[in-house]
Symmetry: C2
């Protein structure tokens, strides 16, 4: 039953015995890697307007300048990452750049920032997406939390099923989003030029400045503008994705990646500027959703249950007032791209986990392929954290944004700093003047990038610390300490396990005992396997917990004329495990240079509930015997009929690790199903 419901929820298991190895042309790479970065255009303008609204609608005159400032920072960051792309064509990303150039602590800090970031990416994108969906379907208004949670659950299920970013699947909605937004911008600008630009729905309202927010000047005004600017910097999230994906590009990889980055930057800046321009011209009024009473209509405050649509939704609704399908298309593709952006986090999270595991900062099992379990655990963990964030912050993008940007900029800063170090080191090595000139130029670009991102980080910390960034910093510290602890543990174990020269003592003899509870096929097989191994001593051993059944077993044993004697260990207190452990210990003590081999017959069953009914004692016994030095435990499996089906399933189930995408494999084809 559990199996059926799992099938319904998760779908047929993914089968594929060959991964295609396709490299991406730029036109596919752009949408694959840009959905996260472009989608932030869907919420960054809203945040700028919300912050400015604190001082009333008059402060909206600043929105345009803030947008330009954000665009400048973005240009600097894009320029910086173009250097990274050339320097690290392996696609290690910020984590590698920081680790290689600044050391383990910096790398771990970046990793902690990224982990927190992935959670927030899901929470922010999905919350924002839910708001777009409710803009298109008014019946859903007021149920954004439920909707967002449902979207996360659907996304989780899809990812557990094994759906991942395939080139074309990503290309279409991302291009649709670009076309929709840029199309809206063009139509809007044309209508503006013709003097026919209508007002948005919220133009009729007035904004009451927040208490103490009216007529700001001096430091208070600067602080407000800084807050608006740092919120607008949410538009920068996700631009680092291309630098992780260099190996997936067609040759020349670095050059193509750099070009794609430039295209991404131009498109994102254009979109953001045009949305903010149009919103301003169309009389947008936009406040914090929890402050809805600050919107007034003819002097009367709106109720707190009034819902305002997202900026893009309002703008496109007005721009396309002559052609309503235009509005629905914009809102639909915006919602879709936000969900896709969240999906990139579902892919990135386990990839980062495997990189961290490779370096010993996460459980090593995460590093290996085929670990569906670890991958699924990562997805479920990410989903749970995102849902917690969504529920805790009421699916309000504005409140989540406060937590979001700090992690991104911590990672930007350390990455830029690492790049500067990188160029400085390279310059010491290189003598060719042309190369040196290029490197110096790159270092200048990265330094400028660092200056910009450092300023933004400081601004973000100042303006957002109390608003929620402290939570992010706390969470980053938590992950940092966990990762350091894991690495410390692995280092300690490695030191303890390092082979030295004395380790060549060979055991001289093997004393084998076969555990017998009943005389059935699994036992006979274990006996046969043990005999085939020809140990120095071979005994069959049974634990007697009641005399009657032991007598029966002995009788059967004699009837079968089995070649070896059956030793009975008496257990007056009906324990099964201690007598065996004690016996093995005693043998080992008598022969300190020998090895004790304990053969345990095991049933292999196919269904999880059958597992509960079998092998539990064997499992516990094995667990205990492992603690006894000089004992090896041999499982002799006997495959029951029900195991055959499960064995077939296990054979067919190849787990396609998402890291293959980032590593340049299998973008188009890894999702196809071969055979049945």
């Amino acid at each position: 039953m559990a199996d059926v419901s799992k099938r319904i929820l998760l779908g047929r298991k993914l089968r594929s015995s060959q991964l295609g190895e396709t490299l991406l042309p730029k036109r596919i790479a752009l949408p694959v890697f840009a959905s996260d970065a472009l989608s932030s255009v869907a919420y960054a303008p809203d945040e700028v307007f919300i912050m400015l609204s604190i001082a009333g609608a008059s402060a909206y005159v600043w929105s345009w300048k803030i947008a330009v400032a954000v665009a400048l920072v973005m240009a600097a960051v894009i320029a910086s990452y173009r250097q990274t792309v050339h320097a690290y064509p392996s696609g290690g990303g910020d984590y590698e750049v920081a680790t290689v150039n600044l050391g383990r602590s910096a790398g771990t800090t970046v990793a902690a920032a990224l982990l927190v970031d992935y959670m927030l990416t899901v929470a922010v994108s999905i919350s924002s997406g839910a708001n777009y969906v409710s803009a298109a379907i008014p019946a859903l208004q007021g149920h954004e939390v439920l909707l967002a949670v449902a979207l996360v659950v659907v996304l989780t299920a899809m990812n557990l099923r094994g759906i991942r970013e395939a080139g074309t699947a990503f290309a279409i909605p991302t291009y649709a989003f670009m076309v929709a937004i840029l199309g809206t911008a063009v139509v809007g600008v044309v209508r503006l030029a013709g003097g026919h630009l209508p007002h948005v729905e919220s133009a009729q309202y007035d904004i009451v400045p927040k208490e103490g927010g009216g007529n700001l000047a001096g430091i208070a005004l600067i602080f407000l503008l800084m807050r608006a600017f740092s919120s607008g910097c949410a538009a920068l999230t996700g631009v680092e994705a291309i630098s992780n994906g260099v190996p997936a590009f067609r040759r020349p990889k670095s050059k193509n990646a750099a070009t794609t980055l430039l295209m991404l930057g131009l498109i994102a800046i254009t979109m953001m500027l045009s949305i903010i321009l149009l919103a301003n011209k169309m009389g947008l009024r936009f406040v914090d959703p929890s402050d809805m009473h600050r919107l007034t209509l003819n002097g009367v405050p709106l109720g707190d249950d009034h819902t305002q649509n997202a900026v893009i939704a309002q703008v496109s609704k007005a721009v396309w007032d002559f052609f309503p399908p235009g509005f629905y298309l914009v809102v639909a593709v915006t919602g879709l791209i936000l969900v896709l952006a969240a999906n990139t986090a579902f892919n990135g999270f386990p990839v980062l986990g495997s990189i961290l595991a490779r370096d010993g900062f996460a459980p090593r099992a995460l590093a290996s392929r085929g670990d569906r379990l670890a991958y699924s655990n990562g997805i479920v963990f990410l989903a749970v954290m995102a849902i917690v964030l969504i529920v805790a912050f009421d699916a309000q993008t504005t409140r989540l944004i406060q937590l979001y940007i700090v992690g991104v900029f911590v990672s930007f800063n350390l990455s830029q700093l690492g790049m500067i170090r990188h160029w400085t080191r390279e310059l010491k090595r290189v003598v060719d003047p042309a190369t040196r000139r290029r490197m110096v130029r790159s270092r200048v670009i990265n330094t400028v990038g660092l200056c910009f991102t450092a300023v933004v980080l400081v601004v973000v910390l100042i303006t957002k610390f109390l608003a929620g960034a402290w939570i992010t910093i706390l969470a980053m510290c938590f992950f940092f300490l966990i990762m350091r602890g894991i690495r410390g543990h692995y280092d300690k174990v490695a030191a303890e396990l390092a082979a030295d020269e004395e380790d060549k003592v060979m055991p001289t003899r093997v004393h084998a005992i076969v555990l017998v509870s009943k005389l059935h096929k699994p036992t006979l097989r274990a006996l046969a396997f043990a005999q085939a191994s020809r140990p120095n001593v071979l005994e069959a051993v049974t634990v007697s917990i009641d005399d009657e059944s032991t007598a029966g077993l002995l009788e059967e044993w004699d009837e079968r004329h089995l070649a070896l004697p059956l030793k009975v260990l008496h257990s007056p207190y009906r324990e099964l495990i201690r007598p065996v452990v004690d016996y093995a210990t005693a043998i080992k003590k008598a022969n300190p240079r020998g090895v004790v081999a304990v053969y345990i017959p095991e049933y292999v069953v196919g269904r999880w509930w059958e597992q509960l009914l079998h092998n539990q004692t064997a499992l516990r016994l094995k667990g205990r015997l492992l603690f006894t030095p000089g004992v090896m435990v041999i499982s002799v499996p006997y495959q029951l009929r029900s195991s055959a089906q499960r064995a077939r399933e296990l054979r067919e189930e190849i787990w396609v690790a998402p890291s293959d995408l980032r590593a340049g494999r299998a973008v188009d084809t890894h999702n196809r199903q071969i055979g049945k």
Copy 2:
């Protein structure tokens, strides 16, 4: 940290390397086995009064007659169990009697009834106990659910710690309860004789009959009396305990057990009759706690937040009005004995589980000793079910009682029927006239018992089916089907595993492969152990997921001059498990009559979180290899330093199974700690 908190919650681990074997004198056996049965006196009278109150206070004239009817049934049941005690001195209880005489289905039905009963024993006793506690501490009134849940949690923690019914620990509160109740009865009767018997606190109220409940006559009246009678039969729960405990009695076991049963019956009947007599004389008014508005004071209904104290609390408060400590003593020991009664369920549940496991109706792992895990799971399961019941029924004993009695009487009936069969069969065998006479008499007694319990069961089903008994019956069916399913599965597996004559094919050769990931101590140990086993072929095998580290490993391998070659399995897709499984399968195919021995080096670590960081791949690999026929998996453990502490703990931790109590061992002494 988890370990510390576990220690605080569960206490030091129980250590004991010797179980005392003490048999119980009657004076200790009575309290040990009677707490459950006697404690039902604490709530049975309440239920009688509540049912009668439907027709108003005038119906209370029937309470006395109903009490006599319940006493008669109890006498019949006690007499019946005295026969069982003689016939089954092994203490198998109702489950054994039903299984042996009526077959597996009857036995399974009894087991299902008992499982449900244990849950309800905890829920009813604790709910009732919570009401007593809140009677003594008025501040707790209205918080009975919370209190009851807290009591279950405390009881669970105590049982997980390993506290179990020790003779003296049980003797004192049980005797105190008898003394308190009988003392109250004597004082009450003396004051009644002297004409000084005061009224109880509720005597001032009037009862408004329930809608349609006034002036009942004919069938309606009979139905009401039947309901009151079946509720009163709650007093019979727990009388079967002695018949399970016969082996724990001093010789002559059966005779002593029968005498103790008689004493139990006399005491319980005396207590119940005197409580109901006194309550009647003292003008008690008692209604369903959810119908509090039907109590009126001078014609004005009481609010629904009025709390009425339990009958024993009201009676003892009035009887001891000249000496308040008397009241507090009665309430305290009543609360205590109710908790003790719940505790018997915590002991009985895993015992029944182990008996069912022995017979193949429950996972076989539950049958073995030393299974702290299975025992703990049972306790936690019982606690969770009890808490669900308490919360669902708002800790109202009255509502829980509706579910309670049906299971008890199903088991009574099947047990009596089994006894009749038993005597009939024995009579066919025995010729000695004196013995035959005794057997015929026993059969008559059991037949009378069956008649009584059958009538009660029918009454209970008629009157309580819609009030909640259907839930019990559904739950019983559920457990019945689960148990049948498990047994069916075990039977099927046993048939599949039965050894036949062809099973003597001996494998001819052993092909051993040692898995190598790094060249450290665990690997060297695995290599040494494998070499000591002298297989026909021995290879070291490594899976190459990246060329660089494989090259390093090969170099190290050569440096060490290890005698055997290292085979490299290439894994272009970075899988670890599939290449090994494929390789083992290929070897097996090439040598169908050979065995493949896969040696896996394993780290043994001491702490659970270390487990998460190690061996995960080894664990999955083992899981997969078990499905490959002809392969045996050899774990070669390497004990890390951190494992030593855990190994010591495991050595010291002997789990004292509760079944030893029922089996006649270790009543007084099994809880003592030997050494440190």
